[in-house]
């Protein structure tokens, strides 16, 4: 996520059902907001998901993927 690409990020996008035309935007948004999504070193899964929901929800193109969270 911190590099804006990679296997882990692709897997996350897959789990959220991000379509191929939105992948670039998704990768960019994830990278730019990494510090928010992982708010602390011991963030639990629900917190990370909540943060991810906020971040994606704030983006016009990606807001629709929050339903998967």
């Amino acid at each position: 996520m911190s590099v804006g690409s990679g296997e882990a990020l692709d897997s996350l996008a897959h789990l959220l059902g991000v379509e191929s035309q939105d992948r670039t935007a998704f990768n960019r948004v994830a990278k730019d907001n990494m510090a928010r999504i992982f708010a602390s070193e011991d963030a639990a899964t629900p917190e990370i998901m909540a943060a991810l929901r906020q971040v994606l929800g704030a983006d016009q193109q990606l807001a629709r993927y929050t339903t998967a969270l």
């Binding site: 911190s2 804006g4 296997e7 897997s11 897959h14 990494m34 510090a35 070193e41």
Partner: protein, 633 residues
Amino acid sequence: MRTWPLILAALFAPGTVAFAEDGAYLAQLAARSRELRLAERPEWQKLLHYVPNLVTPGVHSLVDSPAFFNAPGGKTDPQAELEATLASFFSALDEAPQHQHAQCTFIGRRAWLDEQLAFDRQRMPWRDCPRYREWHAALNAERLTLVFASAYLNNPSSMYGHTLLRVDARDQDERTRLLAYAINYTANTSEQNGIAFAINGLIGSYPGTFSVLPYYLKVREYSDMENRDLWEYELAFTPEEVERVLRHAWELLPAYSWYYFFDENCSYHLLGLLQVARPELDLISPFRWWALPSDTVRAITRQPGLVARAVYRPANATIIGARLRAMSKEERGVTKELSLGKASSPDALRALAPQRAAGVLEASYDYVNYRRAIGKHDVPAPAVLARELLVARSAVPAPSQAPHLTPGPRPDEGHASSRLALGAGRRAGQDFGELRLRPTYHDVLDEDAGYVRGAQIEFFDIRLRRYGAQRPRLESFIPVNIFSVASRDEFFQPRSWRVSGGWQRSFLRDGKEALIPGIDGGAGGAWSTDNRRVLAYAMAETRLRVHHELDGGHSLGAGASVGALIDASARWRIHAYASGLNDFLGETDRPRRLGLAQRFALTRDVALRLDLRAEREGARRFGDGALSLLLYF
């Protein structure tokens, strides 16, 4: 009056009526199975894991759980088991939370028997298998991939590699493989002690079982924690062949077999599962005595067209190594400081262009993780540091700096794992001819292609010599010989160590050469030149020998050894070494050894070896030299 309907219902309930009819149909099916000799067919033999008995005629199944068989003698009687399986399919017992119907428990057998006998659904009620259906749907399998994790000397359970089967789902691709499931066979034990594990593994005291678990957990274990490169061999099975394997995996999940380290291990049982895919596929019979994971991978690749492609997944440490090699000395310094939390990223990276800064941050993060995984706690809060590095990296506008690693030779492309050596030489003035058999698997002089560099594992190495016209004699028998040489640098500090045990001819004070049992151990470090052509090591050594002709019946010594492995060319490797011991307890002696061993590869499976040694032992000095032809098979 009120009881009549109950009695009538009991007498004429559909179940009872059906049962009467079942009996006739079952007898008909059993007769047909005998007529077709189904129990002798390879499909049935494979589904039940029958193998020929060693001495007596007949077969026995390698599966040891009684519940895997329907007939009391099912473990040794394929026909009885087949008929009992047919009978179990008629069971009126419905699925319950604690109980599956036999048609579902043995869904692979049902599918095959149905193909052969064309079950009449009217006469044998067809059971829906909801649990299997759910499991099957969750896997959503499209392909199967055999995954090989390379050797890891520090874990005896998978010292010479491990294999597992990955189930690739329909909606996944190469980028999302982490989400796949894996079918894994392991010894079921919580034993942490490697030696206890090895001994119990030899005598088969752990139940081995199949389990299904997320692939990313295995990747984390092997690639991140144990730093083993993975090879993924995608298998070119048809959809129906994949189904056969899955149905059989379902049958095997509740079963167990006693786990044997050398033969009935993870790789052997995985082949046993895979070979049900095709009737003609016989993968396990060459592995009755030894099943090395790398050899089982070779068996798969030898089947024409079975492997669609092989994908290399480098371990975390391999990736870090490649990142560091692409860096300048200054960048490596910054990487180290950042990963130890000794510098803050904005200051340390100021002088670097975004791409270089990104590379440094990525490597620092990987290196923090590497140290966490190997249990090195040299930073107060590694998780905080790791997150800081990631956040810092996310702020750098540069694409991923992950290195593109060109994979070396695959594990199936290395030399064969058994070795026969024919040699001639001279020891202490006596000429000899020598025959040496090393059943398995690799030593530090052998070619590394397909193996892990510096990882020597030899089992049951046996050497016979004939001096002049004398009778041949046993020169040495070394059941275990493990030598791990791993180079240290400013980032990686693995320990090098060795341990070996067995019987070896040695000179005693009276000039006799006796076959003396002993164990040797050593620990130290190794260092490599930048071009990796020279790997030098130094170790503290100890040795214990026990023999009635030694003073007090034993001798215990301590000492040191140094050596260097030098790659003179791609085919030619030299091992120069020197060692000295001080036997201070029991029989006292000061054995010394200075040696030069060389291997020259002629082809992948043929090599020449020249061993030259000057020794001092039992208060005498002598030379020992031999030239041998090595044949790997």
